[in-house]
C-alpha cells in the first residue's frame, strides 16, 4: 500500500540519566567557560537561596501568609537564562518565580516587602509571592494560573518582532504547564509566525504532588517542541555551565530571526510544592530521592569546580554567603517596617480610565 505509512513511537526523548538522582553529583566541567560569568552566577544563586530560605522561615513562623512556592534547589535555570537577557527583552514566569525575579536583578527588599503585602513591594502589595513584576529589569509578570503566561510571552515576542530591535521574550514554566492545551497553542503560533521567544521548561518532575510519570507517557518534554517544529535543547538544569551553553546557542538563533527555541532544563525542588516544608508532598516517595538530588546541588557543584581551578577561594565563598545573609536580613527588616497599601488602593488600581495620546 504505497499510500500508507506507519510509525510506532520511539522513546527518543526520554530523560535517561538526567532523571536519575544518582548521577551528576560531581563538580561541573567548566574548563573553557566564561569564569567571570560563572562567578557572578554563583553569587546570584547564593542570593536566591538565602532569600528563599528566609521566606521559608517566615512562612514557617506564620509571618508570611501568602502562598509561597520556593525554587530552592533549582536556582541554575533562572540564573543561567538571565545571563543572556538584555534590556528590551521581556521575561514571564509563573507561581514559582522568586528565582526569576532575583536572577534578573530584582531587589530582595521589593520581594520581601511584596510577600508581606506592603505598598513598597514590587507589585505594591497587591500580588504577593505569586504575582511579581519588575519591568525595569525585564520581568513583565508572573502569575499562578498554570500555563497562562506562555501565550502572553508569545505575544510579547510578537511585539518584539514588530519593534524589530532583535529583542526577545522568555517564557519560564514547569513540566506541569505542558499539560495545559494553551502551551501547545502557543508553541504552534510561535513556530508558525517565527516569533522571537525562548520557551524554558524547568522540568522538576513534579506538578504539585504528582510525578510526571503519573501525568504523561514520557518524562521528557522536548518531544512537544519537535512536534511543533521548534528546535530544542535539553540540559542538566542544575549545571549552570550547561544551562548557559544551551541558552547562548538558542538566544543567538532567536536574535538572528530564526524564530522560537525550546529549552528543557532538568532540575528538582527541595521544598514541597508550596510552603517551607521538605516533606510537604506526603504520599509521594520523595524523601530518599531528595537526599540524592541534594548532591546535584547547583551551587556547591559549581563552587567546588571553581575552587578546583583556583578561580574561587574557600574564604571568598564563605564571604559570599555571609554578605547575602546581611543583604537579606537588612532588606527584611526594612520591609517589615514599611506600610501597607492605602484603603483606596483596592478600587483606584482597577481601571486606568486614561486614553492613549495619538502617536
Amino acid at each position: 500500500m504505497a499510500s500508507v505509512d506507519s510509525v510506532v513511537h520511539r522513546n527518543a526523548a526520554s530523560l535517561g540519566t538526567l532523571a536519575d538522582a544518582e548521577h551528576f553529583h560531581e563538580p561541573l566541567a567548566i574548563d573553557g567557560e566564561d569564569i567571570d560569568a560563572l562567578l557572578a552566577g554563583l553569587q546570584r544563586m547564593i542570593l536566591i537561596r538565602v532569600v528563599e530560605e528566609k521566606i521559608g522561615d517566615m512562612v514557617s513562623q506564620g509571618v508570611v501568609k501568602c502562598p509561597c512556592h520556593l525554587a530552592i534547589g533549582q536556582e541554575a535555570p533562572a540564573v543561567g537564562v538571565a545571563g543572556f537577557v538584555r534590556p528590551g527583552d521581556r521575561v514571564f514566569g509563573a507561581h514559582r518565580s522568586h528565582s526569576h525575579f532575583l536572577a534578573l536583578g530584582g531587589s530582595p527588599h521589593g520581594l520581601l516587602a511584596e510577600v508581606q503585602g506592603k505598598d513598597t513591594g514590587v507589585s505594591r502589595g497587591m500580588g504577593g509571592s505569586m504575582h511579581l513584576i519588575d519591568i525595569p529589569n525585564g520581568l513583565y509578570g508572573t502569575v499562578p494560573i498554570v500555563g497562562a503566561t506562555i501565550p502572553i510571552a508569545v505575544g510579547a515576542g510578537l511585539a518584539a518582532k514588530m519593534d524589530g530591535n532583535g529583542d526577545m521574550a522568555v517564557s519560564f514554566f514547569g513540566d506541569g504547564a505542558t499539560e495545559e492545551g494553551v502551551f501547545h497553542e502557543s508553541m504552534n503560533l510561535a513556530a508558525l509566525m517565527k516569533i522571537p521567544v525562548l520557551f524554558v521548561c524547568e522540568n522538576n518532575f513534579f506538578s504539585s504532588h504528582l510525578h510526571i510519570a503519573l501525568r504523561q507517557p514520557d518524562t521528557s518534554v522536548c518531544r512537544y517542541a519537535e512536534a511543533h517544529r521548534i528546535a530544542w535543547s535539553r540540559a542538566d538544569g542544575n549545571d549552570l555551565a550547561a544551562v548557559r551553553a544551551v541558552t547562548r546557542e538558542a538566544v543567538e538563533a532567536i536574535r538572528a530571526g530564526e524564530g522560537p527555541r525550546f529549552l528543557e532544563l532538568v532540575t528538582y525542588r527541595w521544598r514541597g510544592h508550596v510552603g517551607h516544608r521538605e516533606d510537604e508532598d506526603v504520599g509521594v516517595k520523595r524523601k530518599d530521592d531528595l537526599a540524592a538530588w541534594k548532591l546535584r546541588d547547583p551551587i556547591s557543584r559549581l563552587a567546588v569546580a571553581l575552587e578546583e581551578i583556583g578561580a574561587l577561594k574557600r574564604q571568598q565563598l564563605k564571604q559570599s554567603w555571609a554578605e547575602a545573609h546581611v543583604v537579606v536580613e537588612e532588606a527584611w527588616a526594612t520591609a517589615t517596617h514599611d506600610g501597607y497599601p492605602p484603603a483606596k488602593a483596592l478600587l483606584s488600581r482597577v481601571y486606568s480610565g486614561t486614553m492613549a495620546n495619538k502617536h
Binding site: K65, C66, P67, G117, K118, D119, G125, M126, G127, G128, M130, H131, V143, P144, I145, V146, G147, G176, A177, E179, E180, G181, S207, S208, H209, L210, L214, R215, Q216, E280, D281, V282, G283, Y340, P341, A343, A345, L346, L347, R349, V350
Partner: protein, 333 residues
C-alpha cells in the same frame, strides 16, 4: 452526640456514592494528594481504588470533557476542580457542551456529570485564586447549580447532584469547613425537588444568601435579634434553576429585603434576588428599597488589610440591615 464538619460531610457523601453506586467515579486534580482538597476526599483513592478515584494532569478542559463523555455512556462522574479559577479553563465543556447536549439532541441523551469546584478565597492568595462566580453559572439554562451552606446539605446535596440525570455544578466553600453539626441518616433526594429554604423566621426583614453568605446571614440574624429585629433568613441552596417563590413570599411579609452574596455585584446572584422580588411584589407594599451586600468592584487583593476589607462580614451585614430597617426615614434624593 457526635458532630461532623462540612469537609468530612462531603467525604461522607463521596463514600456513600462510591460504595452504593458502581457507575460513580471521580476525576480531577489533587485526588491522590492528602492536602489538595482539604479533608473532603481523604484516602478515597485507597478505599475505592485509583481506577475510580482518578488524579489527573493539569488539563481542566480535557478532563472535564472526558468526564462528560463517560457521563454520556452511563457513568456518573464527579469532576473536581480545586479552585473555581481553574475551572474557568473548562467553561466550554461545562456551559456549551454539558448544559446543552440534552436540549440540542432533542432530549434523547442525558449528561449526569457533576462538576465540583471549590471556592478557596482569602489567605492572601490574590486575584487568580479567589473567584467564586456562581452568578455566571446560575445564568446558564441546562446547568443545575448547587451551593450547600451546612454539613448536612454538603453531604446530601452532593449525593442528589450526582444522582441527578442533569449536569450539576456543585460549589463548596473552604470557609465553611469549620462548621460542625450532627448529621441525620443519609437520604437520597431528587435534586429537582430541592430549592431555597427558610432557616429562621421574623417579621422585620428578609435576609437572603447562599453558601458562606447564608451562614453570614444566619449569624447576622442572631445579632439583629438581640437588637430586637427579627429576620426571615433564606438559604438559596439551589441557584439554578432558581425558584424565588419562598423569597417573594417572605418579602411580601417583611416588606424589606437584603440580598447578600460573596460574588461581584453587577449581574450577580444578589441582583437576581432583588429583580425577582421587585418583579413579583407590588412596590407599594415594600417598606423600604431592597439592598445588596456583595464584593466591591475589584479583583481580590493580597495585602492583609485590603483583604480584610474585601469580603462581606457579619458586622457589615448587621450594619446594612439596621440602615435598611430604619429606611422609612431614609430620604431618596
Amino acid at each position: 452526640m457526635t458532630t461532623t464538619g462540612y469537609g468530612a460531610a462531603i467525604r461522607d457523601g463521596f463514600e456513600h456514592l462510591l460504595a452504593n453506586h458502581s457507575e460513580v467515579f471521580t476525576i480531577g486534580q489533587g485526588l491522590w494528594s492528602p492536602w489538595y482538597v482539604g479533608n473532603s476526599m481523604t484516602d478515597l483513592d485507597s478505599q475505592f481504588g485509583r481506577e475510580r478515584v482518578i488524579d489527573t494532569p493539569v488539563s481542566e478542559l480535557g478532563c472535564t470533557g472526558a468526564a462528560l463523555g463517560a457521563a454520556l455512556c452511563g457513568y456518573r462522574p464527579i469532576v473536581i476542580h480545586p479552585r473555581v479559577d481553574f475551572m474557568l479553563l473548562a467553561v466550554d465543556q461545562l456551559v456549551t457542551q454539558a448544559a446543552k447536549w440534552r436540549s440540542m439532541f432533542g432530549g434523547q441523551v442525558c449528561a449526569p456529570i457533576t462538576v465540583r469546584a471549590i471556592i478557596n478565597r482569602g489567605g492572601e492568595q490574590g486575584a487568580q485564586h479567589s473567584q467564586s462566580l456562581q452568578s455566571w453559572f446560575a445564568h446558564i439554562p441546562g446547568l443545575r447549580v448547587v451551593m450547600p451552606s451546612t454539613p448536612t446539605d454538603a453531604r446530601d446535596l452532593l449525593i442528589a447532584s450526582v444522582l441527578s440525570d442533569d449536569p450539576v455544578l456543585y460549589l463548596d466553600d473552604r470557609w465553611l469547613y469549620g462548621l460542625e453539626e450532627e448529621l441525620p441518616p443519609i437520604e437520597e433526594r431528587n435534586l429537582a425537588n430541592e430549592g431555597p429554604k427558610l432557616t429562621r423566621t421574623g417579621q422585620d426583614l428578609t435576609l437572603v444568601g447562599c453558601s458562606y453568605s447564608a451562614h453570614l446571614c444566619r449569624e447576622a440574624a442572631a445579632r439583629l435579634s438581640a437588637n430586637g429585629i427579627e429576620c426571615d433568613v433564606i438559604d438559596i441552596r439551589v441557584l439554578n434553576p432558581f425558584d424565588a417563590a419562598l423569597i417573594i413570599k417572605s418579602a411580601k411579609k417583611t416588606g424589606r429585603l437584603l440580598a447578600v452574596d460573596g460574588d461581584w455585584r453587577s449581574c450577580g446572584m444578589a441582583a437576581e434576588v432583588i429583580a425577582s422580588v421587585s418583579e413579583a411584589v407590588d412596590p407599594r407594599i415594600m417598606r423600604a428599597a431592597p439592598r445588596r451586600v456583595t464584593l466591591p468592584d475589584a479583583p481580590a487583593p493580597t495585602s492583609n488589610p485590603l483583604e480584610r476589607s474585601y469580603y462581606p462580614t457579619v458586622d457589615y451585614i448587621v450594619q446594612r440591615a439596621l440602615a435598611l430597617v430604619g429606611a422609612q426615614q431614609e430620604t431618596f434624593e
